[in-house]
């Protein structure tokens, strides 16, 4: 039976990874406003993705304003591709 990556299978996390594959870097504000999530909810999702090694988090300052940026890792890209392949397999059953 096909294994589904449970980290990616959560719809919000899948959407986050899809956004991250489109560009190189996105910041916290962009994800919050685009996904319509609360800050706490997004933080939890990003934490899970980071622990899985799918995203890289970079914290810094833009002048005096704190800035958190995310980028997808190679592991994340590979996992996403594998996830879609697995999902396609399930859908074709």
């Amino acid at each position: 039976m096909t294994d589904i990556d449970r980290v990616i299978h959560e719809p919000v996390r899948l959407r986050i990874l899809s956004i991250l594959t489109g560009v190189d870097v996105v910041d916290f504000t962009f994800l919050v406003s685009t996904l319509g999530l609360s800050r706490g909810n997004l933080s939890s999702h990003m934490d899970k993705l980071e622990r899985a090694g799918y995203v890289e988090i970079q914290k810094g300052f833009n002048g005096k304003v704190p800035r958190t940026e995310y980028r997808i890792t190679d592991t994340g890209r590979t996992a996403l591709t594998a996830y879609w392949a697995a999902l396609d397999q399930i859908r074709s059953l």
């Binding site: 959560e10 719809p11 959407r15 870097v25 910041d27 504000t29 002048g63 940026e69």
Partner: protein, 248 residues
């Protein structure tokens, strides 16, 4: 819980619209072009006024015109220093997209930077060559824009190619309109300004079409963002991972 039904039909659409949005965030270019136009209008207008006032002996008006020139030249100095200009650009992007957040592509590779330097040097050499050409040959002013199109259009296209994937297709409107303008002039279309408005023959293709292309890009970025938000928020089961963890 089966979440397969909640997954977007085509996840690549989310990537595609994110990319389209990021590539067309051209509002800072609009602001920069407006600043550039304002500086030029102030310098042109104040210089004209200063000259007229000086010849007519109006000392007060002369100094008013000089006072208007000071901030304009100050602005030129400010934007000529790369570090200050970069700082301003960062500040501007932060202000303009404060609510939307930041989304970007990585900085260019060294390879692209080297080509960028070559492109700028070639462009500078062409500008110098056209000025020298103007000294030695009596070129009618109506052909200034078509002659400049020979190097401005390849420069803008080259810049677009080097800046990819940072810039979208809308940016190509600029060289396209510039080339079209040149072709129409050569073909004899009545689109030439004369007399005191002659300067517009260059200002419109340079700044006007640039502004138009940037505005088109900006409008497209709005469309892309709307599509992206619809896709990113539609049907999503926004479960709180903390709740999820607790229940499992």
């Amino acid at each position: 819980m089966n979440k397969v039904q909640n997954q977007p039909e085509d996840p690549q659409e989310i990537s595609r619209w994110t990319r389209a949005y990021a590539q067309n965030r051209s509002l800072p270019v609009v602001v920069f072009l407006l600043i550039f136009l304002t500086i030029n209008v102030v310098i042109g207008g104040a210089s004209l006024l200063a000259g007229t006032a000086y010849r007519s002996g109006n000392v007060f008006l002369f100094w008013v015109a000089i006072a208007a020139l000071v901030p304009a030249f100050g602005a030129i100095v400010f934007f000529s220093v790369p570090r200050w200009a970069r700082k301003f650009q960062t500040w501007l992007i932060g202000r303009l997209y404060a609510k939307e957040g930041n989304v970007a592509f990585s900085l260019q590779s060294r390879h692209a930077t080297a080509w960028g330097v070559i492109l700028v040097v070639c462009f500078g050499a062409c500008v110098a060559a056209s000025v020298i050409l103007g000294f030695f040959f009596d070129i009618p002013s109506k052909y200034m824009q078509p002659i400049s199109a020979l190097y401005v259009v390849p420069f803008l296209v080259g810049l677009w190619l080097l800046m990819r994937p940072m810039t979208g297709w809308a940016a190509l409107l600029w060289p396209l309109l510039y080339a079209l303008h040149a072709i129409l002039i050569v073909a004899g279309a009545p689109i030439l300004f004369t007399g005191p408005w002659e300067v517009l023959n260059m200002v419109i293709p340079i700044a006007g079409y640039g502004l138009l292309a940037s505005l088109a890009g900006h409008l497209y970025s709005r469309v892309a963002l709307r599509h992206l938000r619809q896709l990113a928020q539609a049907g999503a089961n926004h479960t709180d991972p903390l709740e999820e963890a607790r229940s499992s």
